[in-house]
Symmetry: C2
Subunit: 420 residues, 2 copies
């Protein structure tokens, strides 16, 4: 289970209630008209599981001998999968290790490549457009580095995930490479529960079915109007986006760092837009990890400009009993107050103490608490943030699902190479 | 070498020039009066090197058999060291691997502990105050987990780094543990070139002397008034902190991520303050990695509110020749424009293209270019950001070196435990 609490008041007159209700109606409209397809993924993606299992059971043995699932993708094609892998991998014993080839950074690419053997790897190439320059350049590198020959069993070691009819899908067809498609109306940053995430995560050994189930639950609950806190939060954040332009996600637990990166893309790329009146609108997401960043960013929140809201993520039960030993070190007795407690208790007490100190300063704070970190809760929280983003986008009257601002840079890039 | 360029104009009247000159004078005053001691570290810390070498050459053999340098510390006690380790480790062959025990997260602690053997590790416990609750709790855990007995050779496996006369230093003295001290007037976030960074990095095998040399060079050049760009940038950022409250550090290269975390602490904790008039001032640092985050955060910079300045960090020469193969994949020919170029060229062309697209939108941009990533450049860039922070603090008329805003949360934490 996940619980949602907030520590600020929202005063709602009839006008506001109407605005929230309209935005909620607009999300129903988006879902029904297929304006974005992510609303359907928690149910539709169940169909993928069988298809993935067929691939796994193929008699060629490629999957059985695989130790690594190598994901070649960037941005929306990797962040969500990486987030889930980071959150769950410590809970599984017999996973195939996931390796992500994302950034065209030659140093990290070289290090990653040195860990991979073609014979015990499945390579999952993911690009929604089918022509992402970073991903395709790295794919070419992999082809050359490992001497791929697609007329051999090598074609079974690769899976392509892309839009139907994209250049990558056509290439896959031509080379007997298994391809999964992404629904056209599902954008990269909303695609983690499509083939983009479900296929590689299932291959690695994760229980993706439960992730989808958790997502279904939250989706249904939201559209049954049982998650009113979500619309209220979206309303508060968007109505105050000039007063509080920065939204800090303060997550307590190292394994949440990649999840916060997924959130940053979702929030930044969806809401940073030119609205219908030509105004630059948006909210700036910032992510921090507790308690480490209490020693880094907290001072600024406490005493700097009052331009931030803070959302805490707390895991009630880390399912780990590591304790602070009952040892008294001479001269350092002042730290004994935590002796005998678990680290789980310490990190969560830090989360609570930090929250309280922000509340005392009237900084708008809310808290998302997982009872534990499991597949269902991950499915729920993914839908929570996706729906929150859509709700905020509807209230801002923007197109939540496009990203026209990044096209210009891509054109300059091509020009730079052509002029060389 | 490092070069600094900016793509925005600063109009300076006599009044502004005077303000900049006064701030520069104030930094000289801070240095001479010892208001902060970090100005002296590039020279003073040379003395540490001999002391560390004595420890390494000790006949007990503990250092010789060590494979791991385990750093127990959080915030200013770990971020800088981790940053340097992340930037340089791919360039060395015979390093002792550094392991950081920072966060009181039981899951990551358990994973890290499972990699460590007492017999081949040196444990460096770092806490400026000597009583940091996270660090001391983890230190106790390490003592219990590895059955430390300080009446044996175990005392030689531990190094303490703390303020002179602190509880940790007293504990070290009592237990024949080697201790290094941090100058009292050097705060955690400015301490990377003190024993805090120099001792563990030297133990790991890094050429810390060259880091200090690079730092000396930049320090001397700055105080010889040869780095005027720095004061101009600090002036632009602080005078416009309401217009541009967010400063994005966009670094191209995965190994720069930990460096950006060091920068975030430095900038956020130093400048997020209540000024002399009781106003909440400060600038919010945000860090992103290119080209990955072009697929995540760039849309918001381009089309969202115009509240951001962007500093790019680019490494001219990654010293890695990995190339995009000259392969044409049927149907994906559109990506061939980068064929035959190195990944080094691709990632830097992305950096340049992104910069150009921001400049075209009149977003204030500057670029820090390393000719290559080496010890001297790292020393230089550390001093650059430290001096920039001091300069900005002087212009904002705040105390750059304290952090009163985080004390309240610490008190609540203790109370929470005592009330249990």
């Amino acid at each position: 289970m996940i619980t949602f609490e907030k520590d600020y008041d929202i005063k709602l007159d009839e006008e506001c209630k109407k605005e929230i209700s309209n935005a909620f109606g607009y999300l129903i409209h988006e879902k029904e008209k297929g304006i974005s397809g992510y609303y359907n993924l928690p149910y539709d993606s169940l169909n993928l599981l069988e298809e993935v299992e067929n691939f796994m059971e193929n008699e060629d043995g490629v999957y059985l001998s695989a130790k690594h699932i190598v994901v070649i993708g960037i941005g929306g094609s990797s962040l969500g999968t990486k987030a889930i892998d980071s959150m769950l991998k410590h809970k599984y014993k017999d996973l195939k290790e996931m390796i992500f080839l994302e950034n065209p950074d030659p140093v990290s690419l070289s290090i990653s490549l040195s860990k991979i053997k073609k014979e015990n790897s499945i390579f999952v190439v993911i690009s929604k457009s089918g022509g992402t320059i970073e991903t395709m350049s790295i794919f070419k590198l992999v082809i050359e580095y490992f001497n791929f020959d697609f007329s051999t069993i090598d074609s079974k070691r690769v899976i392509a995930i892309s839009d139907e009819g994209s250049p990558l899908c056509k290439f896959a067809d031509e080379n007997s490479i298994k391809a999964f498609t992404i629904p056209k109306n599902v954008g990269g940053r909303f695609s983690v529960l499509s083939a983009v995430g479900v296929v590689p995560l299932t291959l690695a050994g994760y229980n993706t079915k439960d992730i989808l189930k958790g997502a279904q639950e939250f989706l249904d609950s939201f559209f049954a109007n049982k998650e009113e806190h979500l619309g209220l939060k979206a309303y508060f954040l968007t109505k105050n986006y000039k007063k509080y332009p920065i939204n800090v996600l303060f997550s307590y637990g190292d394994f949440l760092e990649d999840f916060t990166k997924w959130f940053i893309q979702l929030w930044a790329e969806s809401l940073g837009k030119i609205d219908k009146e030509g105004k630059n609108v948006g909210l700036t997401p910032v992510a921090h990890i507790g308690s480490v960043d209490q020693h880094s960013f907290l001072q600024l929140i406490m005493q700097g400009p009052r331009d931030k809201t803070v959302t805490f993520i707390k895991i009630e039960d880390f399912e780990n009993s590591l304790k602070i030993p009952n040892i008294s070190l001479k001269y350092i007795e002042k730290t004994n107050f935590a002796n005998g407690y678990s680290f789980n208790e310490l990190i969560n007490a830090e989360c609570d103490a930090t929250k309280e100190s922000l509340v005392a300063k009237n900084i708008p704070v809310d808290m998302i608490t997982f009872d534990k970190l499991d597949e269902k809760n991950i499915g729920r929280v993914i839908l929570y943030f996706e729906l929150l983003t859509s709700f905020a986008g509807a209230l801002l009257s923007i197109d939540t699902y496009d990203q026209p601002g990044v096209e210009f840079g891509k054109k300059i890039l091509v020009k730079k190479f052509k002029e060389r």
